[in-house]
């Protein structure tokens, strides 16, 4: 009962301390929200739309062949035909030069003519759109050739895409889960600066002079941090889902376990940093290095597979890699808590946390109390 009363008061104090600390709000809430919004606006704006290209079609001497080709070309949905009709050759050249259209297609001048011209601006010669258009046109011509000789194609390419689950991971979902992982990881790694400050100011020593139960103090501090992370998850998810259309399929037991163990592990890392940092500047330096390293190497903003191969082994040992993986499994793929994959991720992350905590505690104990004044 006495312990509970002490816990209540300590927790209330922690709550006030956190709410009054403007830095905590900026770095913990405002910053991740802004960062996520910027990335989402940059990378997931119009690029999700389907490919399309504007072309001009020249059909100066309409003949059966050109008419047939024209009809088929207009039926391709990604081709937008300038002014909805055919144009003269001069006009087409002009449009290409002025880059009004991406390319001009000149249809055969007579029924016996077998060449189709594809005209692009020199500037765009190597562009992706040009490549795609010429590929399409090639395919188109080939089909026409086959048709002309009356052959039936033996092979056909069928295109299909799959992911590891029934739900597709869009970039928005990828980024949302990445930002949540990053925010919680940074909260843990940066948050323990309080401990350095408390030690520097002699507050830890002051509390040790009282009969205060330091375990209860630590517990109330930890619960406050977890609560703060819950706010981060909820806020980022709401913004991601409602503002940027992210899709989440949450498996709550998995999310709870991944979140709790992840937050604890990264707090343990912060605790480890604090055990050897004498000033808050030193602490922040260490936390910044760790945070930057992980931010770019752990697949927060882009998948690890897109990085150079030689750097991937490094990514594969970082704890954030596994935390973000666990979060994606539990928030996007709705992976059950009983799947092995999720526990491998959790295991590696926990190993980091446990080792950090053990070394941190050892360093704290090793130092005499006088040195921690």
């Amino acid at each position: 009962m006495k312990h509970f009363k002490q816990f209540k008061q300590m927790f209330a104090a922690q709550l006030k301390l956190t709410f009054r600390e403007k830095q905590a709000w900026f770095w913990g809430i405002f910053f991740p929200v802004i960062l996520m919004s910027i990335f989402m606006v940059i990378f997931s704006g119009s690029s999700d739309n389907e490919f399309s290209a504007k072309v001009a079609i020249v059909n100066e001497n309409p003949n059966p062949t050109s008419e047939m080709l024209l009809q088929q070309l207009t039926s391709i949905p990604v081709l937008e035909i300038e002014s909805g009709d055919t144009v003269s050759r001069e006009k087409a050249d002009e449009l290409v030069k002025d880059q009004e259209v991406h390319a001009a297609i000149v249809l055969p001048e007579s029924a016996d003519d077998t060449s189709i011209f594809f005209i692009v601006n020199k500037e765009n010669e190597q562009g992706v759109t040009t490549q795609a258009l010429s590929g399409m046109l090639n395919n188109f011509v080939q089909q026409a050739n086959l048709y002309a000789v009356g052959a039936v194609p033996t092979y056909e390419l069928h295109f299909e895409s799959i992911t590891s689950s029934s739900n597709q991971l869009s970039y928005t979902d990828f980024l949302l889960t990445g930002m949540i992982a990053l925010a919680i990881a940074q909260g843990g790694m940066f948050g323990m600066v309080d401990l350095v400050e408390m030690r520097r100011k002699g507050l830890i020593k002051r509390l040790r002079m009282t009969p205060a139960n330091m375990n209860i103090f630590g517990l109330s501090d930890m619960i406050m941090r977890l609560l703060f992370s819950v706010i981060q998850i909820i806020l980022l998810t709401i913004i991601g889902v409602f503002l940027f259309g992210a899709n989440v399929y949450i498996n709550f037991p998995s999310l709870l376990v991944v979140f709790l163990l992840g937050a604890l592990s990264f707090n343990a890392l912060g605790y480890f940093f604090s055990s050897f940092s004498k000033t808050s500047e030193a602490y922040m330096g260490v936390a910044n290095i760790a945070s930057f390293l992980m931010m770019f190497l752990s697949g927060i903003f882009f998948p690890i597979e897109t990085m150079p191969e030689w750097i991937q082994p490094l990514s594969n040992i970082l704890p954030l890699t596994y935390f973000v993986e666990g979060l994606r499994e539990s928030m996007v793929y709705s992976t059950s808590i009983f799947s092995t994959g999720i526990w491998i991720a959790i295991g590696i992350m926990l190993l980091w946390g446990a080792v950090a905590f053990i070394i941190g505690s050892w360093l704290y104990k090793r130092k005499s109390i006088v040195a921690t004044r």
Binding site: K2, A13, M198, K201, L203, K205, M209, T210, I369
Partner: protein
């Protein structure tokens, strides 16, 4: 009744012998002051007594309790204001007091403490906005929240302006009135002299001397410096000089123009005789003074060091 017994404390940090051999005991209800220059070992001594630093050698007893066996009990019975006056800067004085109150089995009402340390008006300001003196008062308040029997104040007035320093003196005197035992370290001689029942001078990790302030001063010297100046001029002073040289209690004299300075082991009788003589001669004495000895003189005499605040 003795509430604190300290015997043969020793503590070294590497090659630095911070505390070499310190023993004293403190009685209930007294203000016991430890003074000494920087690095004399005051804070280390206090920290050993407060249970923060284990002594290399020596014994610390609070009545029947000691740190090895009764740490929890002792922590309930003592209140500490450390030099760093650490507290939660983003909480208000009231919140700090309430929080600290939950650490203890019994606590005095926050309201009462706020009044005692005169922070009722600032109860809702964040601590980081308080002045140095207000902060220091709160630190003392935090030390008193559990209504402890023994209060440790480690340099409570260092760095404060004279007014703020007087405010803290008032608090310490009130504590004394409440019957609390106070163990104080200070930099200021005036403070030690004004507040303490007993003073312990520490230098280089050892106790140089320990007694009541007045006994220390008396111990210091047997003769006092007496100064008289005569309206009738240098001649009168010279005649009085000759006369006082014959008095047995006078050890030495000096004359400066119309002033006579003499050193006497019995200034009261010397003056009685001297005034009898001047009355007879009809000389008029303009000013008389007996130089007060202060703890500062005691300090200089015992440590051979110039005192610096």
């Amino acid at each position: 009744m003795t509430v604190l017994d300290v015997k043969n404390l020793k503590k070294s940090f590497g090659t630095i012998h911070a505390v070499q051999d310190i023993s004293f005991s403190v009685k209930a209800g007294e203000v016991f002051t430890i003074i000494g220059p920087n690095g004399a070992g005051k804070t280390t001594t206090l920290e050993m007594i407060e249970g923060l630093v284990p002594p290399d050698v020596g014994e610390i007893r609070f009545g029947e309790f000691n740190w090895d066996k009764h740490a929890k009990t002792i922590k309930q019975k003592i209140g500490v204001q450390p030099q760093s006056s650490a507290m939660f800067d983003l909480l208000t004085p009231e919140e700090n007091l309430n929080l600290f109150a939950t650490f203890y089995d019994k606590a005095r009402p926050t309201e009462e403490i706020l009044k005692l340390i005169n922070l009722t008006d600032h109860r809702n300001n964040h601590v980081k906005k308080l002045s140095g003196g207000q902060r220091q008062r709160l630190a003392i308040g935090l030390a008193m929240i559990s209504d402890p029997e023994i209060i440790f104040l480690d340099e409570p007035t260092t760095g404060l302006d004279p007014q703020a320093r007087r405010n803290i003196w008032d608090i310490i005197l009130q504590l004394k009135k409440l019957g609390k035992t106070t163990i104080l370290t200070t930099h200021y001689m005036e403070e030690a002299e004004k507040l303490s029942d007993r003073v312990c001078i520490v230098d280089q990790g050892r106790i140089v001397t320990l007694d009541t302030p007045s006994a220390l001063i008396e111990k210091l010297t047997e003769e006092r410096e007496v100064r008289l100046s005569f309206i009738n001029g240098a001649e009168a002073a010279e005649e009085a000089n000759l006369y006082s040289n014959n008095l047995s209690s006078v050890t030495r004299t000096e004359r400066e123009e119309a002033s006579l300075i003499l050193w006497s082991t019995d200034p009261e009788n010397t003056l009685y005789n001297l005034f009898g003589y001047t009355k007879e001669k009809n000389y008029q004495v303009e000013q008389v003074s007996i130089r007060e000895m202060s703890l500062e003189d005691v300090f200089i005499a015992f440590t051979g060091k110039e005192w610096r605040d």
